[in-house]
Symmetry: C2
Subunit: 156 residues, 2 copies
Amino acid sequence: MSERVQARWLTTEQQQIWRTFLLGVARIQEHLDADLRRHGLDLAEYEILVCLEESEGRRLRMSELAEAVHQSRSRLTHTVSRMERRGLVARVSCPEDRRGVWAQLTDAGFELLRSAAPSHVESVREVFVEAVDPDDFAALGRAFGRVLSVGRESAD
Amino acid sequence: MSERVQARWLTTEQQQIWRTFLLGVARIQEHLDADLRRHGLDLAEYEILVCLEESEGRRLRMSELAEAVHQSRSRLTHTVSRMERRGLVARVSCPEDRRGVWAQLTDAGFELLRSAAPSHVESVREVFVEAVDPDDFAALGRAFGRVLSVGRESAD
DNA sequence: GAAGAGTGGTTGAAGTTTCAACAAACCCCA
DNA sequence: TGGGGTTTGTTGAAACTTCAACCACTCTTC
């Protein structure tokens, strides 16, 4: 496209990396989803299970959970409802703040997580951790750390 | 969770990088979507426009386009239908292969792309290209290149 | 201690994606 | 030449996400 006054395009190399990145991310998600689907889970649900499992009492307030797994509240409400129907989590109303609701990992949820985790981790390793040269992997950690700090800098 | 027979977990560091990566990706998509939404587009639609714009005659077979933007055929059918309703693309039936359909970028689609591109590129730069140290950025290119080659190796 | 502002979470409808089934056209080969 | 198998793309329903509105509760503040 024609050059405009201030438009700064990316160099060919930057563009290529950017596209490789987009495809790579898609590929990773595909790979992980394919694995988790065999356990009847998707990545979002898996992350919910992990978060709960790691929390005190294996439960978290809906809003905390939403934050942790990077979902909107509304989406989480729906997702948790579905998971509740399947018996993976339970809603427990929170005594201190009666608006509040805990999402509580059930035993069944924990068992499912336990059965899904090994092959999930193996998938992560396969498609990502071991695919990449260790130095590049470390660089990747720094890189995304920087991405996360963008726009937060002045706020700290 | 307890250690099992063969389960190889990630090291703390690997795990941390993995999570940073997941959050970083979410952040990037959020950032880009927020920008594109101001033009009434999302990332998937934008990619469709870009792909078409770069193709011979500004058109592509549906299946080629699906491949290029990494969407299922069905999803692409629906997405293109919506974009067609908005006048951004047109369907043209393909004379050589009468099963085939070209998705053809319209002038309106091109104009929208032209108006959306500068700030989109600026967003990419902001949240990604410039956020990251150049060496790490190059490493990232290598890393995702490797990710893409996993599982294809024996096939080539 | 009650009005107003804010927070936590849900709801239902509209919009989007996925899934399985399908129709039309092509390809091959006898 | 006309089956059978494959490829292309669409369809409609089910599943999921988004969006705006909403209720119930808490936190001020006067």
